[in-house]
């Protein structure tokens, strides 16, 4: 039967072949169509388009990929990656095609139902506003003030936040409400009560800069974002004295040993992952540290499944192995030479006696200890020169950075100096070191060899490090591990096993291989890191344990070696031009910038619930400075001593403070302010964040989803900042756990914010809760710029279509708001003086404000209150509120006068600014100084890249003194709030230069 069916089937097949317009194969199984393909025109039509536009995605993914956006009949259809990247060389893989499925789907947003197409406002608020305005003779500012003055109405619209009820309004009305709120707040409370949040400039720097420029010109507080990303930002400055700087992903190719540590590269670094996959074919060995079988484990030769949060223990055990086998058991010449040149390992540290006998590490020995005088002496550390067998002060330290005496010395040239790494041979001294691996911190007692310098008992950082890691040497006192298999004592491979779950043998082997590869390859061992290890308290210490591995093995600064760390798109490559544009530094300096972490902690009242004292996890050796302190106390102190910015700053309107100070002391208003603070007549707002006069009142969010994404502690935001429903379950701290220096109100305020404004192209958690939502252009509808640390290219946004419906670019939106603001503010606010409090800054002479790293507080009378020295700086800035719009659209005079300054390097930009003035059409906006201006149509992207920046022509700076001396007169600027102020000892940690 089966045979018959088969025969019949074959016959049918043969007949079928006869009746078709096709060529059938001899066995009847394959047929080849000839002609008759018209029906496939469907797919040809589908694959057709009118134009292809180059653009990218303004999102903090670090990818920064260039895309082809296809347009047909005026509609964006789809996108694909560009493949025309410049070649990186004949023998290396290329960057093409960069992109991932997230980017490949972006065009969906343009026409999606989640698109914000028109301006919206909260219905209940808009009704109140219209009623008040009509009642008050059409005055928008009076109408806004009227609503804010009525607690009932104010609470009514605040309570409605996030519960639907958004209604369409016109752009004119939306801008008017927003402008009125700004004018009212500045007049009633002060410009620093206006805040702006927009993270990651690099992801669309023109959009960021436009809003930041508006807020900076009016004196508003721009909030940072980077310090809100756990403990990541501080590790690199602690280690290298500079902000996170890493190789581009193409450098993974150069590594011959790659440890992916807390970075799931295929998922989080999708467009770069191929470098890793491909480098394996060069024989790169790949190790993954990950608690789970993450996507990148597929590519690994070895998988170390460390328990979450235990990476520090793993790294310490590896460091133990590296120090023992490559520094003590034998000396690896390459490593010894590297750490002598590029690290502080040979530098001398004084030992201080401790109660109960023995010593603890104290401060660095400096030139001041050797009798050198001058302010910089305390910032010039000392090492022992084997060549002369004497202590010596090498160049390249902080003391050389900002002093006349240091000119020509701020480099790593050791000359004839031969640094001695260890005091080995000297008398052994027992030191106490803290350990935190048990429930309560305990002390370990270990020994270091010592010497006597400047009358002090000293040892080297290297000797201290061996003691810390538990690497024994003969003849030293103290308790040491018996070997790698000693489970009880830090930091052996066996010690880490119960903590991490990784077998001791594997840790020892990987540590050994890492160093061995570094030795054989000239430093091409790399640790590729991500955010996976940093969402823990004190994760900066975890980072430093990992960075110690790449530093000890001479990998930092080598192509294919060192730390390769990627979390966000922090690298705004044209940072100099961008920051001057963004913060209005061409018109006034300094701008107001605030650390976001502290701002939200205080103003969402999270501090009231925080029962985790500042002294938890204190070292047993600590001197008790944190004892009984609340984190809010430390914030108050950091504001008081000028370590951190603090916005809003004073418990009064800074416009009024300026008037008063200028009246009292026209020549030295700063001194007057300092005295008022000492006398207690003026206070810091952060010491009473719940007093209504200290609340932030207006918040603008753009390029961001603050609630639901950036906001940590969303429910606190909802209850205290916005005043709407919240599911807050935490309990407030009991009296004994409350701050000492911060005022406690019995009732925590709900609804501090008068206005939440957001600009977005889609509905997010933030737009849902906003009072006014403005429809933004997407990334395919505007000009902008985008850069990353993963590659060296600057990617341009170009509009594939014009902003559809009533959407506007951020550039147009903020310029529109500025215009209405200026019209309303001119007659009401006029020209005012504004007192700006600026913190002591890294990369400026301020870094030498705390000699010896000893903190002295003017409040307790230990030192006099000296602005710029023992406290922050107080600077009077003029605000011409009627001219904000005009200033936004024009280049101010300060660039010509003061140049541009980044990291204390000032560049004279006169030549370029003249070129720019000539090549730009005169601005349609009346410029106060007839300076060159730009209009929205002239392309907002132009100023940012035409403003001179170090990586382009005009570099190196002509004035050599600005490289190795104090910045030019005027206010140095700093990168967009990404810099962690260094507190404590600003001692030298010279790192290698890339």
């Amino acid at each position: 039967m089966a045979g018959a069916t088969e025969r019949a089937g074959r016959a049918l097949l043969a007949v079928g072949g006869l009746v078709r317009r096709a060529e059938v194969s001899a066995d009847g199984r394959t047929l080849h169509q000839i002609g008759g393909r018209e029906a496939d025109s469907f797919y040809r039509d589908r694959w057709s388009y009118d134009k292809v536009v180059r653009s990218t995605h303004g999102v903090n993914c670090t990818g920064s990929c260039s895309w082809k956006v296809y347009v047909k009949d005026g509609i964006i259809t789809w996108e694909q990656q560009q493949t025309d990247y410049p070649s990186v060389g004949a023998d290396r893989p290329e960057y093409e095609p960069r992109g991932c499925p997230r980017g490949a789907a972006f065009s969906w947003y343009t026409y999606s139902p989640t698109r914000v197409r028109y301006p919206y406002a909260r219905g209940v608020l808009i009704e109140m506003y219209r009623e008040a305005k009509a009642r008050l003779g059409g005055d928008p500012v009076a109408a806004w003030a009227d609503i804010q003055a009525d607690p009932v109405r104010r609470r009514r619209y605040q309570r409605a936040r996030g519960k639907g009820g958004l209604v369409r309004v016109s752009w004119d009305e939306a801008q008017e409400i927003v402008a009125a709120a700004h004018v009212h707040t500045i007049g009633a409370y002060g410009p620093d009560r206006v805040a702006g949040f927009s993270p990651i400039p690099a992801m669309s720097m023109v959009s960021h800069a436009t809003g930041a420029r508006f807020l900076s010109l009016i004196g508003g507080s721009m909030l940072s974002f980077y310090d809100w990303y756990a403990d990541l930002p501080v590790a690199s400055p602690q280690m290298f004295g500079d902000q996170t700087d890493v190789p581009e992903s193409g450098d993974w190719w150069d590594a011959s040993y790659l440890v992916m540590w807390g970075s799931n590269v295929p998922v989080t670094r999708t467009p770069d992952a191929h470098w890793m996959a491909e480098a394996r074919y060069r024989g790169q060995k790949v190790v993954v540290v990950s608690p789970d079988y993450a996507d990148n484990v597929k590519f690994a030769d070895e998988w170390l499944p460390a328990q979450p949060g235990t990476d520090g223990a793993l790294a310490m055990a590896m460091g133990h192995v590296v120090l023992k086998e490559f520094f003590v058991d034998k000396v690896t010449p390459r490593f010894a030479d590297y750490v002598s040149r590029y690290t502080d390992l040979p530098y001398l540290v004084a030992l201080e006696p401790v109660d109960g006998g023995g010593y603890r590490p104290g401060k660095f020995v400096t030139a001041a200890d050797l009798g050198e005088t001058g302010a910089e002496a305390a910032f010039r550390p000392v090492l022992w020169d084997s060549a002369t067998d004497a202590p010596v002060v090498p160049g390249g330290s902080l003391g050389d950075r900002f002093s006349e005496a240091g000119v020509g010395r701020w480099n790593l040239d050791l000359g004839d100096i031969v640094p001695r790494l260890s005091c080995a041979g000297g008398e052994g001294a027992e030191i106490a070191l803290p350990r935190f691996d048990n429930d309560t911190p305990e002390l370990m007692r270990r020994g270091v060899p010592t010497a006597r310098v400047g009358g002090k008992l000293v040892t080297t950082v290297f000797d201290l490090m061996l003691a810390q890691y538990g690497v024994a040497r003969p003849g030293l006192p103290g308790t040491w591990p018996s070997g790698y298999d000693d489970v009880d004592v830090p930091y052996t491979p066996a010690w880490q096993e119960p903590i991490t779950g990784v077998p001791a043998a594997a840790v020892a082997r990987i540590g050994r291989e890492f160093a061995d590869n570094a030795e054989r390859s000239g430093g091409r061992s790399m640790i590729l890191m991500g955010a996976g290890t940093n969402h823990w308290f004190h994760s900066d210490t975890t980072y430093r344990a990992m960075l110690t591995l790449t530093t000890l093995t001479g990998c930092q600064g080598v192509n294919g070696g060192g730390w390769a760390h990627y979390v966000g798109q922090e690298k705004c490559r044209p940072v100099t031009g961008w920051s001057h544009l963004a913060f209005g530094l061409d018109w006034a300096r300094p701008p107001r910038q605030m650390i976001g972490t502290a701002f939200w902690y205080l103003h969402t009242d999270q501090w009231r619930y925080d029962q985790y004292g500042a002294d938890v996890l204190t070292s047993p050796l600590a001197k008790g400075e944190f004892a009984g302190k609340h984190t809010a106390d430390l914030l108050a102190k950091s504001a008081r001593l000028g370590w951190m910015p603090s916005m809003p700053t004073f418990d009064r309107n800074p416009l009024d403070v300026a008037d008063e100070a200028l009246a009292a002391a026209p020549d030295n208003p700063a001194a007057h302010v300092a005295q008022e603070l000492v006398d207690g007549r003026l206070g810091f707002a952060c010491t009473d964040p719940d007093a209504p006069e200290n609340w932030p009142r207006v918040l603008t969010v753009w390029r961001a989803n603050l609630l639901g994404s950036s906001a940590k502690g969303n429910e606190y935001f909802l209850r205290h900042l916005l005043g709407t429903d919240a599911s807050l379950r935490a309990e407030e701290a009991p009296p004994e756990k409350r701050p000492q220096d911060v005022v406690w109100h019995d009732e925590a305020p709900e609804g501090k914010l008068d206005l939440l404004l957001s600009l977005d192209f889609r509905m997010t958690s933030t737009t849902l809760f906003s009072d006014v939502v403005l429809p933004a252009a997407t990334w395919y509808e505007k000009h902008d710029l985008n850069t990353t640390d993963m590659h060296p290219f600057i990617h341009a946004f170009t509009p594939a279509i014009n902003p559809p419906w009533q959407t506007r670019t951020d550039f147009d939106a903020f310029h529109g708001i500025a215009k209405v603001f200026s019209d309303l503010a001119g007659p009401r606010l006029g020209v005012r003086q504004d007192l700006v409090a600026a913190p002591l800054l890294h990369d400026t002479p301020d870094a030498m404000a705390t000699p010896g790293g000893v903190v002295r507080d003017w409040k307790t009378g230990e030192v006099p209150a000296v602005p710029g020295r023992t406290m922050g700086k107080f600077i009077v800035v003029e605000r011409d509120y009627g001219a904000i719009s005009a200033k936004m659209g024009a280049l101010g005079p300060l660039l010509d006068r003061l140049g541009t300054t980044t990291k204390a390097v000032t560049v004279d930009v006169n030549r370029r600014s003249r070129f720019w003035a000539k090549s730009t059409a005169p601005s349609a906006v009346a410029s106060p100084t007839a300076a060159p201006g730009w209009t929205p149509t002239s392309g907002p992207a132009r100023p940012s890249w035409r403003c001179p920046a170090p990586p382009t022509a005009g570099w190196p700076p002509r004035a050599s003194s600005s490289w190795n001396g104090a910045p030019a007169n005027g206010w140095p600027i700093w990168p967009p709030s990404t810099r962690a102020s260094r507190s404590g000892s600003p001692t030298a940690s010279p790192g290698p230069s890339r």
Binding site: A273, Y281, E302
Partner: protein, 457 residues
Amino acid sequence: MRVMAQMSMVMNLDKCIGCHTCSVTCKQAWTNRSGVEYVWFNNVESRPGQGYPRTYQNQDRWEGGWTRTRTGRLKPRAGGRIKKLFSIFANPKMPAMQDYYEPWTYDYEHLLTAPAGDDTPVARPKSLLTGKDTKVTWSANWDDSLAGGNEIAAGDPILQQMSEQVRQEYEKAFLFFLPRICEHCLNPSCAASCPSGAIYKRAEDGIVLVDQDRCRGWRMCVTGCPYKKIYFNHRTGKAEKCTFCFPRIEIGQPTICSETCVGRLRYLGLMLYDADAVGKAAAVKDEHALYEAQKSVFLDPHDPQVIAAARAADIPDDWITAAQRSPIWDLIMKYEVALPLHPEYRTMPMVWYIPPLSPVVDILRDTGHDGEDLDNLFGAVDALRIPVDYLAGLFTAGDPAPVTAVLQRLAAMRAYQRRINLGEERDESLAAAVGMTGTEMDDMYRLLAIAKYEERY
């Protein structure tokens, strides 16, 4: 000998990062329209996993592909034409929508239009088929990254074949990705299954297409294709499938999935083959011999006799040149690192794969051996975390030998290049151990690692 040309693809699974960019760019260009919301001409499957549609590889259930009769002939597994004719109105061997997944969207508009109320508006999931509220329970790659673990992976047809050997314990977990498009087979069972004769293979490049005018929506092709790479458009009532991006190929552009592959793992090229030899090769008795049988069908584009025959068959010179420069030829025939997907379906698929390496198991780590050392190299291959048997179940009808050979070549290449990387002496014995010369090692390394645009396509 009848020379024909075939556009073909090789994917290097060892480089696949499972990012799904290929799927999304393909979807955006071809199938983001109604009727084909659930359709992914290109999809990426996590392995182990059930695939898309679920368990499609279980031909006992779906009866796709060809089966060899006792007389040595081939017939569609789902039955010959007579049987098809009788079941034409009720084909039970069709995946249901649930076997793919029910496409959905979210009620985004509600976020903007919600009236003032007591709650925060949310966007509920809505079925794209019914427009009603839905619960999202399955999707095109629900197997993603060990999600579901045993629960989902246990349904993997390949795992089921080898369940005795593989434990799905955490410690032994493994994962890799399998991107799939239409195989554009030399012996397509979809075409043989179509009652309307609407499916054809283009004479010049072998791309298999559905004639949208002639298709009558019988859906026998869906059953016939063992890879389940033909889909039914429920809006137009026609079958649709991957077109190998023929409108792009015709003007010299790579397929979208290839050009947008950010893992840079796809290779495109022309293969010449003997059309007269296909039927016999597809019908060899031993399933393990099918891999070699298909290779025997391919014609060496450098062979003067082949070139002459190709010219006689009116294949243009630039096509012959393209076949000579084809990375597909090198990967399949020269370096022998690419393998066909499920040769046992006997369709002579033309999208081939380089199987993935994976971490060595704990045995090696605990003994303190380095997997890259020559002594351990081949032992390491046998001890890889992804079981060789699993890969053999995909690529060689269960025969581990060809898979092992490929993995040994990849491992040897790494060891060989590592010495060069570190500035050490070349070790020719590493190349010789896998039957290659150092020069061949360098060439293969260049094609796999450097993989410039013009070398991939």
